[in-house]
């Protein structure tokens, strides 16, 4: 159905390009052809970078011909549109940045390109990464390649859809409360959020700075490890990037889980996911056991407060970060009779409803009289949540739980903001604790009223900086189960 060259994993593409069996230019042309064929239905990209892709691919081929061996040689890359790439439009899915051209390149993106990746386009996302379905983008609609009547998840939904539809082999996403893991689960992909501070945030347009973390969306765990190896490590341009050595994750992939204790969270066994999904997760835990892991019950008594904690801390940080969009230095300006009216009108016209809601709740939580009751209390709750994980990891090496509250849903199904926030119930606690976590495909379930089975994801979480352990274990699970390969994308249908 698809060009064989673009169905290969990033690891296979790089091996082929390095060995001269194909060229980066050939892979780029095949990928651009796929983009042209499926974009009218999928809508993963806000900007397709034909010229840049061809130029980068030619440079990769030159480097390979000169004898270099590049870990991501010729690998087509989707970049979430909240990351800067010098000379290209970078919008954050917002009208306020609709015409903005990034004047420099984000460190994570630069490192991927240095490793041989070829940028195919800037991927759609919820406006300023605030959302769980991509529906909050002001600039485009992205559809789930597995069912075009459903959302791809969010906020990194464009990156996820691009990889699922073979319009890239690796998608860069950013995860603040689940924005890589949830679209990963919705689009049958591996979605990996490294430890906070592992990947530089320089050039990632900030949403909530104490939570934002860049990571990859890929079709295999091995590809996630390759991307992580290329991107991670200290960057003097980001004062919060961690200055400690990173060992190769690609070299730590394992075949079994012998000797590992996997924690199953008591408080998450609520039956809230429905019988079908519950059965799939039970099977997934049994598979972990079959691979040699010992299952232990762990308790995260305050994890249920994660959502409440997050929806004070993240908006508070966003209200501060987004104050820079004021119509003075870049982006949209709507004129007014004085500077104050110019601010008010610019931000009213430039931001969509979800961004406005979050700025408002954040400004409220930080305002005089409410600061201690809301913001400080949430920061204290964050301490308790992080402590719960520390306690749990005293009796286990990894934690396994669902990645999202349901499979991909239909457009406009979550019109009440709080019902959308609930999507990230299982991913937010890890974000608050800064932990590395990923979602990996674990089965298929037909949603109520749905036309076909949709993928769901298993979330694995490890202690701080234990990415090697996390990716190694996820690889063993993936290789033993192969859930991701069960269904090809349904790209032949007409959009609803």
């Amino acid at each position: 159905m698809f060009d064989e060259r673009i169905e290969r994993s990033a690891a296979q593409i790089a091996a082929d390009v390095n060995a001269g069996r194909t060229s980066a230019c050939e892979v780029a042309e095949a990928t651009l052809a796929q983009v042209e064929a499926v974009e009218p239905r999928v809508g993963a990209y806000l900007t397709v970078l034909q010229a840049e892709a061809r130029a980068h691919a030619a440079r990769v081929d030159e480097r390979v011909r000169a004898g270099e061996r590049l870990p991501l040689a010729g690998v087509p890359l989707a970049v979430k549109d909240n990351m800067c790439l010098d000379g290209t439009r970078t919008t954050c899915g917002s009208k306020i940045l609709e015409g903005w051209i990034a004047p420099y390149t984000a460190t994570a993106v630069a490192r991927m390109l240095q490793a041989g990746a070829v940028p195919i386009g800037k991927a759609n996302c919820d406006e300023f990464a605030m959302g769980s379905s991509c529906e909050n983008s002001a600039l485009g609609v992205t559809r789930n390649p597995y069912d075009l009547t459903r959302v791809p998840g969010g906020s990194s939904g464009g990156s996820a859809a691009a990889v699922a539809a073979y319009e890239a082999a690796i998608g860069l996403g950013s995860d603040t409360g689940g924005s890589i893991r949830e679209p990963g689960a919705f689009c049958n992909l591996v979605g990996f959020k490294p430890t906070y501070g592992r990947v530089s945030r320089y050039g990632l347009i900030a949403f909530a700075s104490s939570l934002d973390q860049i990571g990859p969306l890929t079709r295999t765990v091995e590809d996630a490890a390759l991307a992580y190896d290329a991107m991670s490590g200290h960057d003097p341009m980001d004062a919060t990037s961690v200055d400690r050595p990173v060992e190769s994750a690609a070299g730590s992939l394992r075949a079994d889980l012998r000797g590992l204790r996997v924690g199953i969270v008591r408080e998450f066994q609520t039956g809230a996911l429905g019988a079908q999904a519950d059965a799939i997760y039970r099977d997934a835990y049994r598979d972990l056991e079959r691979l040699g892991a010992e299952l232990v019950e762990v308790s995260l008594p305050t994890a249920g407060y994660g959502l409440a904690t997050y929806y004070l801390i993240a908006p508070a940080e966003c209200s501060s970060n987004l104050s820079r969009f004021d119509g003075v230095r870049y982006g949209l300006r709507v004129e007014g009779k004085d500077v104050r009216e110019m601010y008010d009108r610019t931000r009213a016209a430039g931001f969509g409803p979800e961004v406005k809601r979050r700025i408002l709740i954040g400004a409220h939580a930080l305002s005089s009289g409410y600061y201690d009751a809301y913001y400080v209390r949430a920061q204290k709750a964050r301490t308790l949540i992080a402590r719960d994980f520390a306690t749990a990891f005293a009796s286990c090496d990894l934690i396994a739980c669902p990645a999202a509250s349901c499979p991909a849903f239909e457009f406009a199904a979550k019109s009440d903001p709080y019902s959308m926030y609930l999507m990230d119930f299982y991913t937010i606690p890890m974000s608050l604790a800064g932990l590395p976590a990923l979602s990996v495909p674990c089965g298929w379930t037909t949603p109520e009223g749905g036309r076909r089975p949709m993928p769901i994801g298993l979330q694995l979480c490890a202690p701080l900086f234990a990415e090697r352990l996390l990716l190694g274990a996820a690889h063993a699970y993936e290789q033993a189960t192969h859930h991701a390969q069960a269904h090809p994308p349904a790209l032949d249908e007409v959009p609803a």
Binding site: S210, V242, V328, T383, P417, G434
Partner: protein
């Protein structure tokens, strides 16, 4: 915890966002609903718990105090909504 209400008009002033009456009403209801949920945090005993601003231990990051290249002024000003010479131009701030 405080009441589950939010003075949307006042907060919008703080945040420098002009809102329509319809938005004031809609956001007020939606954010009131969210505050009801976040008020569950009152159930936690946090009196003796320190606040976490950031989970990863980090120290003041300083760099050598030496010049290094930065974006060229023309590059930065090229995308200004309005400029005048080497400056960003803004509407009047102080009345005559």
């Amino acid at each position: 915890m405080p009441a589950d209400s939010i003075d949307v008009r006042y907060v919008a002033q703080l945040a420098r966002i002009a809102l329509t009456d319809e938005e004031v009403e809609r956001f007020g209801a939606q954010l009131g609903n969210l505050l009801e949920h976040v008020n569950a945090l009152a159930e936690l005993d946090t009196d003796s718990v320190p606040a976490t601003a950031q989970v990863i231990e980090s120290h003041d990051a300083v760099r050598a105090d030496v010049e290094r290249p930065c974006l060229d002024r023309e590059v930065v000003l090229a995308q200004a909504p309005q400029r005048q010479g080497g400056f960003f131009r803004v509407p009047r701030i102080i009345a005559e």
